[in-house]
């Protein structure tokens, strides 16, 4: 067992990370456990975004849409649709995949800039719709009363629930990024035209990647709704989309764990530091500037070699 872990560094690191995170749940006070839960969820959100940004070189400027799709469809199905928790969860995932397919189909037409701007346009439209359609979405107040699974209702148990869900998603993503599909995604990032002349249908490929990325973001959205026991327009805001990009940029897009580290930094700065520093956004800005100038590949970035990605 130990030899296997040593031989396969990824598995070994994953197992150690899960053990350490499980232990932290026991030793940390409730406030920090809750914060760590948020870090895990946002790490999943950032990693889902990085599938597009870091691996395939796409620039989705409105990725919070998919966090919002997951959270709102789950909240609406449970509160307004009177579905039970599990059916609401499954239906929310299905709706999120369908929505990401439609949005992806409409956004993926032409060059990366067109894609980015269309993506941003959809984000703005949906964000406005959610804010203004008060009777359906609750507007600024959001939707309250989102439940957690009954077995995992307290802070510590919910933390383990999130840890398990995020770990499963990470394992799936890790398998994905070791697959031929991810290698082709890197080819897309490096030279789209060469890939086209190798017989790859670029638009279809991007759409599939878009759906996968949207699925993981939707899972993060559902978990976030459970954590906050409600769904709020901030989930789908442009600020949240920008935060996702910041997490990838700060942590490092060329590393699997880079966005997760970025998520931890952004969540801690925006939650903890904001208690002590009034202008905490300024601190975030300075970190981004430092990353762009000093660490071009982010904290876990660096020179691309075959061992990475």
């Amino acid at each position: 067992m130990l030899q296997t872990l040593v031989r396969n560094k990824s598995i070994g690191f994953g197992v150690i990370a899960i053990i350490v995170l499980s232990g932290l749940g026991i030793v940390l006070p409730a406030y920090w456990t809750q914060l760590l839960t948020r870090v895990l969820i946002m790490a999943l959100f950032a990693s889902s975004l990085n599938l597009q940004v870091g691996y395939a070189g796409m620039l989705p400027l409105g990725h919070s849409m998919f966090l919002g799709f997951g959270a709102y469809s789950f909240g609406l199905l449970f509160i307004k649709g009177d579905l039970l928790l599990i059916p609401a969860l499954l239906a929310a995932l299905f709706i999120s995949i369908a929505a990401s397919t439609i949005v992806g189909y409409l956004c993926l037409r032409g060059d990366p800039m067109t894609f980015g701007l269309l993506h941003l346009g959809f984000n703005i439209f949906l964000s406005t719709l959610i804010n203004k359609w008060i009777r359906f979405t609750g507007g600024d107040s959001g939707i309250m009363g989102i439940p957690r699974p009954s077995l995992f209702s307290d802070t510590l148990r919910f933390y383990y629930f999130v840890l398990a869900a995020v770990s499963i998603c990470y394992i799936l993503m890790r398998i994905l990024i070791k697959s031929p599909f991810a290698k082709v995604a890197q080819g897309l990032r490096e030279n789209e035209e060469r890939l086209r002349f190798l017989g790859v249908n670029i638009r279809r490929f991007q759409l599939v990647l878009f759906m996968i990325s949207g699925f993981f973001a939707a899972v993060a959205g559902i978990l976030l709704a459970m954590l906050d026991k409600g769904v709020f327009p901030a989930y789908i805001s442009l600020t949240r989309s920008a935060e996702g990009l910041m997490m990838c940029l700060i942590g490092g897009m060329s590393s699997f764990l880079g966005p997760s580290l970025g998520a931890a930094i952004v969540v801690i700065i925006s939650t903890v530091t904001s208690t002590y520093i009034y202008q905490w956004q300024g601190l975030l800005g300075i970190i981004i500037i430092a990353c762009v100038i000093g660490f071009r590949g982010g904290i876990l970035g660096g020179r691309r070699t075959q061992s990475k990605l």
Partner: protein
């Protein structure tokens, strides 16, 4: 006949870059396309591979019309393309460059579970060996010498196992000896894999040494097609292009 074009025309605004070009390429042939800069040679390759849509005219590959097909479908039907400026995956290693081509060729683009490290390794190494890059498999493609980049692009294209290979100035920017090595390699691989080759070239020694037939373009039109000796002695070709170069 593996490829024929019928009255291909390409207009860029008021400029007619390709004018009523009809070509017939036999299977196994090595065809050179020559002509002065701006004659429409690269545009013709763009039209064949649908990198650029023809204004009018048709392209047939193995008897089937391909003019309306997207570039990726044309590539998967067996037309490989090397560009005037190498199109590689610069941030990936030489191994990974070939690997992506093999993944596409063997229909594994949407394979999301098997480890990439085990996919087609043997085939990839064979290709790297055949193009002489087997000693630098972990070098990033963007850091290779220009000659090696040309070799790698040929390798990427060959990994798709095309039946027709289009090469746009394969020896441009490399030394005479490197150019000869490259063309010898192409000719050898073409013979081994029963490839048909169309190549654009400005170096007349290369053209006359390696081409079975030559088509000469001038101002968007094909003004002559024939065997190397016929082209060398063609008065019209002498006047508009070869001049003193071939005498």
């Amino acid at each position: 006949m593996i490829l024929n074009t019928i009255d291909l025309v390409k207009d860029f605004g008021s400029l007619r870059a390709v004018n009523q070009v009809s070509l017939e390429i036999e299977a196994g042939e090595v065809r050179a396309i020559i002509g002065p800069n701006g004659a429409g040679k690269s545009t013709l390759l763009d039209l064949i591979t649908n990198r650029s849509h023809p204004t009018s005219g048709r392209v047939y590959f193995r008897g089937k019309e391909i003019s309306h097909l997207p570039a990726f479908t044309i590539a998967s039907r067996g037309i490989g393309r090397c560009f005037q400026i190498s199109k590689l995956f610069p941030g990936l290693t030489t191994f990974e460059n070939i690997q992506i081509a093999c993944i596409s060729r063997w229909g594994k683009v949407y394979n999301m579970y098997s480890s990439k490290n085990n996919v087609l390794d043997h085939k990839i190494m064979n290709i790297l060996d055949s193009i002489g890059l087997d000693k630098i498999v972990y070098e990033l493609a963007g850091t290779l010498s220009y000659g090696d980049q040309r070799r790698l692009e040929i390798g990427i294209t060959l990994a798709m196992m095309p039946t027709l290979l289009l090469l746009d100035e394969p020896t441009a920017g490399v030394s005479r000896s490197e150019g000869n090595d490259l063309m010898r390699l192409v000719k050898k691989l073409a013979t081994e894999q029963a490839l048909t080759i169309i190549f654009i070239e400005h170096d007349m020694d290369m053209v006359f040494n390696y081409a079975d037939k030559i088509s000469v373009m001038h101002q968007g039109q094909v003004i002559a097609t024939g065997k190397p000796d016929e082209i060398r002695n063609n008065n019209l070709v002498q006047n508009v292009y070869l001049g003193e170069r071939a005498s």
